[in-house]
């Protein structure tokens, strides 16, 4: 049935050889003749039927979304990808894409059953799959920015590969899609957005949720656009031609494929009327293909598929339940060697130190690049941290559209492709726009897929005391420290802040949020009399991003403060020492997550009184975690915490200064603690 024989052996199940051959990358070779198309499409359909059968027998973990009726639609673009660098980013309805890309039928069935042989070790189930350059995830449009980033990385290294990002028509309601299409157009990168238009999103008809025209959406962003139907003759060739054009033109495009979903969205949620479903079945492209073939050939193909899938099922059933050995406690990759020394700027402030670090990084590491809004000279970023960089490193310091989620996604894609992107978000308050990209994507891939690393650093100025009001003054670390797998760094002028940034970018291959307090930019970098606390053996990243300490070795009170609160805590310590005659110690972490628990316990457990101060809205935040840590470790001294109340931060300076903890508030809290 194959048009071209390959020396590569395809997947075989229990000695039953796969009824197709694969290329050097392991990707199935699917010919365009009716017999080849029918054979592979039948394999996909029968695999999904098998999955539904297993589901009804209670053998499937969770739920599944099938592409019954859309097999040709799902095969057409993926089968045409013949470059080893080609990427496919898919979504919840991904089995056809996955099988056309990987040919791993056993891996898919075992994965959906939650068995050890599953292609993603049981993490992914039906909708989160990874295989070489194939990734799918379960958030609508969530992968679109990532696709732009991957395509930008391909462009930067002059690869002929392209990225295909597949969405359904329901996803046309997601804003990130439009950020991504715009970015792709602005950057002119080879990404093809494929819209599989089956006219229904879960149970809601697209006609009830979509304004305007679909193809016009692509055209409006300057994308090349095409619209085809998988019910029409020549569809497979037309899809292949689109892939060839995107590969040739090296610019983004949008392909809309009209198709029809025969089954439900997921399970038991097909509420369409029987007449409509019958009409869809009558137009089934597989039936049309079968009609072109002699009956005995159709029967032979079906028999061969059935035999193969029986073997797949047997083998999947024989595979034991997926288990973790041992249960991973985190998904962080260890620190890497190879420090780029960032010289300390003599008498420089934090802004100068960060600027110097970025200069050093861009000069020393060609894989680094800076992405964000208004970074270019002569403006140099809202807080001037990127001043001079766009002039010195043209093409690697990129001012972007105002698309926080989109550029975070692009950063993830670039990072997955081996680059070391630094994304600047102008105000940390806007990180809420990036949350899905961090929470559901950046940290998920390294945790789910062992081969995926996302060395992304997102920098953001945060904090108040400038009268910027409720949406430009916040310290949102409390939200982000709770994201599993996300590193949160929030250094101060007492840390070697430039070196910390350089190490976060080059030596810490984990998605990282790097917070910078606006008021610290003008503070002189000075480690003063701080000493580095010995890092606990089990504390990830604690040696790379040290916690500092100063003051009495037998303190009456210990102030734990970080980031923008550190100068305030120091002023409070001075008052406590001079006016209250107290021996005061300050402990200043820069690494907030993963929390350096052992390091902190070693320093704090024998202290009589501890006050944790933070500028964030602190309920459920960093201080809460540190106090819980101490409580769980049978700390027997007195504890308190101080932060911002759960109300919006006012613009008026008089109100703001009453809201944010200051030195007087710290002194008062310490007195209360005695």
């Amino acid at each position: 049935m194959m048009s071209d024989a390959s020396p590569m052996a395809a997947d075989s199940a229990n000695g039953v050889p796969a009824p197709f051959l694969s290329d050097a990358s392991g990707k199935p070779r699917i010919g365009t003749d009716p017999a080849s198309l029918f054979a592979f499409a039948t394999l996909i359909r029968d695999t999904e039927k098998l999955i539904l059968d297993l589901f009804s027998r209670g053998l499937v973990s969770g739920t599944t979304h099938t592409c019954l009726g859309q097999e040709l639609c799902q095969m057409a673009v993926v089968r045409a990808l013949d470059h080893p660098d080609d990427h496919v980013l898919s979504n919840h309805r991904n089995h056809g894409h996955f099988l056309s890309y990987s040919g791993d039928f056993h891996g898919l069935v075992a994965e959906i059953m939650g068995r050890r042989d599953g292609v993603c070790g049981g993490y992914g189930g039906s909708q989160h799959l990874a295989y070489r350059h194939f990734h799918s995830n379960g958030v609508q449009a969530g992968m679109t920015g990532i696709g732009v980033g991957l395509a930008a990385a391909l462009k930067a290294r002059d690869s002929r590969g392209i990225v295909v990002t597949v969405i359904g028509d329901g996803t046309l309601g997601e804003g990130l899609l439009y950020e991504s299409m715009n970015l792709a157009s602005v950057w002119q990168v080879p990404v093809l957005f494929v819209v599989e238009h089956n006219g229904i999103a879960q149970t809601t008809y697209t006609r009830d949720t979509l304004g305007g025209d679909i193809v016009a959406r692509g055209a409006a962003f300057g994308l090349d656009t095409w619209r085809v139907s998988d019910r029409e003759a020549g569809f497979i060739d037309a899809a292949a031609a689109v892939v060839a054009q995107v590969r040739e033109r090296r610019r983004p495009g949008m392909l809309v494929i009209d198709t029809g979903r025969l089954g439900p969205h997921s399970k038991g949620d097909d509420l369409r009327d029987p007449g409509e479903r019958a009409a869809l079945a009558a137009a089934d492209p597989l039936a049309a293909l079968a009609a072109c073939l002699p009956a005995d050939e159709v029967a032979a193909i079906r028999a061969s598929c059935a035999a193969y899938l029986q073997a797949v099922e047997r083998r999947a059933l024989a595979s034991p339940a997926a288990n973790f050995d041992p249960l991973p406690e985190h998904s962080f990759r260890p620190a890497q060697a190879g420090q780029v020394e960032i010289p300390e700027v003599a008498d420089g402030n934090v802004r100068a130190a960060l600027n110097s670090a970025l200069h050093g990084l861009l000069a020393a590491a060609p894989e680094t690049l800076l992405i964000g809004e208004d970074l270019h000279d002569p403006y140099g970023g809202a807080f001037k941290v990127s001043a001079g960089l766009s002039t010195k490193f043209p093409g690697r310091v990129i001012s972007t559209p105002i698309s926080e989620a989109g550029i975070t996604g692009a950063g993830i894609g670039l990072a997955m492709a081996g680059r070391r992107p630094i994304v600047e978000i102008m105000f940390a308050d806007f990180l809420s726009l990036c949350l899905d990209q961090l929470y559901n994507h950046a940290v998920k891939f390294p945790g789910m897929f062992p081969e995926a690393t996302v060395p992304l650093v997102v920098r953001a100025p945060c904090g108040g005391r400038r009268g910027y009001g409720p949406t430009h003054s916040q310290s949102p670390e409390n939200l982000f420290v709770s994201v599993p797998g996300l590193t949160v760094l929030y250094p101060s002028h007492r840390h070697r802040v430039g070196q910390l940034l350089a190490d976060a970018v080059l030596r810490w291959s984990n998605p990282t949020l790097f917070l910078e307090h606006k008021l610290l930019y003008g503070e002189k970098c000075d480690t003063a009399d701080y000493e580095i606390l010995p890092a606990g053996d089990d504390d990830l990243g604690a040696a790379l991003f040290p916690t500092l300490r100063r003051g009495s070795a037998a303190p009456d009170v210990t102030l734990l403060a970080y980031g923008g609160m550190l100068p305030v805590a120091e002023r409070a310590a001075k008052i406590l020492e001079t006016q209250e005659e107290l021996a005061v110690e300050i402990v200043a972490p820069a690494l907030l997550a993963p929390l350096p628990r052992q390091t902190l316990l070693q320093a704090l457990l024998d202290r009589p009184r501890i006050l944790v101060v933070e500028e964030a809205h602190h309920h459920f935040g960093v201080s809460a975690e540190i106090l819980a840590l101490l409580a769980e470790s049978a700390y027997s001294g007195a504890l308190a915490r101080l932060g911002t109340l759960p109300v919006p931060i006012a613009s008026a300076r008089s109100l703001e200064s009453a809201q944010l903890p200051d030195e007087a508030a710290i002194v008062a809290a310490v007195i209360d603690l005695l």
Binding site: N349, R351, A352, G380, A382, F383, K384, A387, R466, K518, Y521, G522, A553, A554, D556, V557, L576, Q579, E580, E581, L582, A583, D606, S657, A658, D662, E663, A664, A665, A668, V670, I671, L674
Partner: protein
Amino acid sequence: MATPIHVPRINNNDDEVKVLAFDVKPGERVSAGQIVGQVETDKAVLDVTAPVDGYVLGFVAQPDEIAQVGSVMLWLGASASEPIPEAGAPTPDSSTAGPSPVTGKAKLLLARYGVKSDAVTPIDGRITVEAVERYLATHGLAAAAPAPVVAVSRPAEPRPEVPGTAVALSREEKGMAATVVWHRDCAVPGYIEIDYDPAPWAEYARAFQEEKGLLMPPLLPLMAWRLVEVARTMPRINATFVEQQRYEYGAVNLGFTIQAGESLYLAVVREAEVLDAGGFVNALGDVLRRAASHQLRESEASGATIGFSSMERWKVTRHIPVLPPHTAFMLAHAAARNGRAVLGASYDHRVLNGGQVVAALKKLSSPT
């Protein structure tokens, strides 16, 4: 009426700018729009111009000074002789309350001694540490304080007749003095030793080192570990004497003497009885390294319930150690001679008798 020229804002995000220079002098006549000086931020320099005609009365900010945006930079007047308006009184900051009547540290002291603050006479209106200490001294409370080590008060010693220089003791030397004084004044010390063959111990340590790939020869840590084990089975060697009773400790806090430069430390591994041999060797190694670099933590420099001392390093073949405060047993390890060695112990005779000490030493003389 005088006209102020304010420090201008250059950048949205900078509240402070540097005053670079003034192009005018006090008394000079300027016209509206004339440049009077420059300010700069990290990135930009900005000319400051006169808003009206007038005479320069004087500067408030100075060149090279960092000035708040919006503060007055210089004054212009209608005539050169006009006075500069008085600076307005600074707005009182309502958030900064005055200092409390009792300092924080004084509060802690009052609580420790159970003294009410109104009993204490303030100094300059506040109850300070000094005020509390005066009260304590006049009420005879200081000596009863539950401080860890308190020197027994005694009449001032007469100065020696021979002239010399008084050198203040270091912290460690004070600790040593306190230990020796405790041994002399509080314990009823005795010393016993036995003769033993050190070869099995040496072989045991050698095998342990080889098995674990240790850099440090683990003989002394392993012997100390054996002491912990013996203390677990013989609670009376891990004890002290309090108010006419034997006080058996609930944990074995092993004190280990270590010489670091000029300082002699008793480095303590707390709750050693919950560790296994490997864990103990590691824990003691950590503590000893911190001692060697003079970075012992408070909890590691106090609280020993039993002691271990070795003078092997100095090729000493016998020594009689001093008992650390509140212990009853201090093992004395020494260098071997002609294949034999002695293992001794100083002990508090109120807690232990000779037979008990010998029994403990016999157990300690072999690794198993």
